[in-house]
């Protein structure tokens, strides 16, 4: 614990140079702008930044990426409030109450409250990141091939379930399709090339960054161009800094949303959008004024913004401790760490524990920069929202091209980006979530290697996959996730609930 605090302070002091502070501010501001602009998501921003920071020292590069990530998730709230279009999917719940507030002429107040909510959410997430990463990392040291196989399956199943709540089958299809895509190219055990059809580029496999830039960048451009231009709400932005009493009134909602956001963020492949919706839903259920939700409720706005920013730090927990991303932008962050020679995973607490706390310090600095920038220059920055999308989208596409090309200097990667852009767009149209596919793309190699290795260790026996204690827990959660949406399961649960209620009612009467 004390060692962790020492590493954190050392990390923090190490970043407090004039150049690093400048880097923190420009990258966070850029993140806010990227997040604000519909069509540019946090994933896309972090992917582009990975390209730009390619030649920088690892710690500086990762710091800039964390700033971009936090800035973008926060920035998306601006367009949700002023345009009723979430800048990133994470801010969809923000639009529910933020936009009605703007229509009432309280855009400034809404921006101030969303900034404070994001700040507090991020701080709660950061504290939990510092607390749980070492615990989870140490626990994961017990994992062997059997557990890693189930962990990959669990990631896909839960991500599919939560990103496609109406129809989880589509989420699972997306996830397993991602695993298949990860199997293209040379496999790591025998060096055999699979599904390349003689193409030397495909033999090298599909790179994550071009795939993500396509699925989250180009697909978004195509989706945005479907619609005509939307007008910004013409409102005067007056007082931005919220009153302390206003925030203190909702302290319970803030803490609850922070905890929910971090937890959902930490679930593999689930991300900030789900975190915001779940926080919003819980806030509505626990509110004294649930009828105000959707009409400009301050509580609703705080809940969604606290939840989504807490999820950022939450999504970094499995990145560092398991080498599995909690969200799509965290997946790019994970890829960037690998590019810069950092190997996150269970061994990180043994090999470089200081790095974990450096990331905590990065989150802290980015959060502070976001808070300062979020409450200043608002009137000028929102002017960017007035740029028509017909002028903005071609620039974003040229950035998609550069972002996918630059890391390996291959035109093939530009083609991969275009392919995943079209695939992502079609998937959106057919209501298949893209996030599980990307998670599958990351977990595919882990699943492939560990499944075959485990089979060899067990000499073809299937029993060890089910008899080891951690495997049993993972299998239990996988089955629970698979059956949780079925009618018969819900019938059993509601039957059990009624039986328990009756039992307590009887006891109460006797008492």
């Amino acid at each position: 614990m004390f060692e962790g605090t020492k590493y954190f302070i050392d990390g923090l002091l190490g970043f407090l140079t004039l150049k690093t502070i400048f880097d923190i501010f420009w990258s966070t501001q850029l993140g806010i702008i990227v997040g604000m602009l519909p069509g540019l998501t946090a994933t896309m921003g972090v992917a582009l930044m990975t390209t730009l920071t390619f030649s920088m020292p690892p710690e500086n590069a990762i710091l800039i990426l964390v700033c971009m990530y936090i800035g973008a998730i926060y920035g998306g709230g601006r367009s949700a409030i002023l345009l009723n279009i979430p800048g990133t999917p994470a801010n969809a719940a923000t639009a529910m109450d933020g936009h009605p507030l703007a229509l009432k002429g309280e855009a400034g107040r809404a921006i101030g409250i969303s900034t404070t909510g994001s700040f507090l959410g991020s701080i709660i997430g950061m504290a939990l990141l510092a607390l749980f990463t070492p615990l989870l990392g140490n626990f994961a040291l017990n994992f062997q091939s059997f557990e890693f196989f189930w962990l990959a399956i669990f990631g896909i199943v839960i991500s599919g379930n939560l990103t496609a709540p109406k129809d989880p089958i589509k989420g699972w299809i997306s996830g397993f399709l991602g695993i298949f895509i990860a199997l293209i190219g040379m496999e790591s055990i025998h060096g055999f090339v699979r599904f390349s059809f003689g193409n030397t580029n495909l033999a090298g496999g599909i790179n994550l960054i071009p795939a993500m830039v396509g699925a989250f960048g180009f697909a978004e451009i195509l989706s945005m161009m479907k619609y005509q231009q939307v007008n910004v709400v013409k409102t005067r932005i007056e007082r931005i800094i919220p009153r302390a009493s206003q925030i203190l009134k909702y302290k319970k909602t803030i803490v609850r949303s922070g905890l929910i956001g971090t937890l959902i963020g930490a679930i593999p492949g689930v991300g900030e959008d789900i975190a915001a919706w779940v926080s919003y839903d819980f806030a509505k259920r626990g509110s004294k004024e649930p009828e105000e939700f959707g009409k400009g409720s301050i509580e609703g706005l705080i809940a969604s913004e606290t939840g989504n920013n807490a999820a950022v730090a939450g999504a970094v927990i499995p990145v560092l401790s398991l080498g599995i991303p909690g969200s799509a932008p965290a997946a790019v962050l994970l890829a960037a760490m690998f590019i810069h020679g950092v190997r996150p995973g269970p061994m990180i607490m043994i090999e470089s524990p200081d790095f974990v706390y450096k990331v905590v310090a990065m989150v802290f600095l980015a959060t502070c920069a976001m808070f300062i920038l979020g409450l200043s220059m608002v009137r000028y920055v929102v002017k960017i929202l007035q740029v028509p999308r017909t002028k903005l989208m071609p620039i974003i596409f040229t950035l998609c091209v550069v972002g996918s090309f630059a890391i390996q200097s291959r035109i093939f990667d530009v083609r991969v980006m275009v392919f995943f852009g079209i695939l992502g767009f079609l998937m959106n149209e057919m209501e298949y979530p893209v996030a599980p596919m990307i998670l599958g793309l990351i977990l595919g190699t882990m699943l492939d290697t560990n499944f075959r290795r485990a089979l060899v260790i067990a000499e073809g026996e299937i029993l060890p996959f089910f008899s080891r204690p951690i495997c049993l827990v993972l299998v239990f959660f996988i089955v629970l996730t698979l059956v949780s949406k079925t009618k018969w399961f819900n019938r059993i649960i509601s039957g059990l609930k009624q039986a328990v209620q009756k039992l307590f009612h009887k006891r109460g009467n006797h008492g």
């Binding site: 390619f54 299809i173 298949f180 025998h190 071609p394 620039i395 040229t398 630059a406 089979l455």
Partner: protein, 165 residues
């Protein structure tokens, strides 16, 4: 959506079957004396089977809901949908020409100028109005295309030392 589900389920069934077949026919590398459980086709075969099961569930569900009636009256598109489809198609075509046709064949800066300029003009030009009233669109589009292309080239190549296509 049921019709879309029906079509995607058929595509997915065909796809997963082809994955299963190619995994089964994949070399098992017996000559190299490797453990058959670590053969390269094991995991793709398993993923193909899982995808097949999921696609079959989707297929049965969509058939039950009448998704196979592909040409029933509600498939006719409304005007708004048609406009959106055209905008998407136009975006796709010019972006493909730029990314697949131009890049790697002509200079990056020139390709970017052409792309940005044509994108803005195609979407902002009002076809039913006379050209003389809209010369401004061409001027501004050219200016933006020049500034954007030169700035991206300069910032990425010189400042961040990044390779461009």
């Amino acid at each position: 959506m049921v019709k879309k589900d029906f079509i995607t389920s058929v595509v997915l069934i065909a796809f997963s079957l082809s994955v299963i077949v190619s995994s089964y026919t994949m070399p098992r590398l017996e000559r190299r004396g490797i453990d058959p459980f670590s053969a390269p086709g094991v995991v793709p075969g398993m993923i193909g089977l899982i995808l097949l099961c999921l696609a079959l569930i989707l297929f049965v569900r969509s058939v039950r809901r009448g998704g196979y009636l592909l040409f029933s009256p509600d498939t006719q598109q409304q005007g708004g949908h048609r406009g959106a489809a055209w905008r998407v198609l136009l975006t796709l075509v010019i972006s493909l020409i730029y990314a697949i046709g131009f890049l790697g064949r002509i200079d990056y800066t020139l390709a970017t100028i052409l792309y940005v300029f044509s994108f803005i003009v195609l979407f902002e030009y009002r076809w039913h109005e006379p050209l003389n009233n809209q010369l401004k669109i061409f001027g501004y589009a050219l200016l933006q295309a020049l500034v954007a292309a030169l700035l991206i080239t300069l910032v990425f190549r010189k400042l961040f030392l990044v390779d461009l296509p």
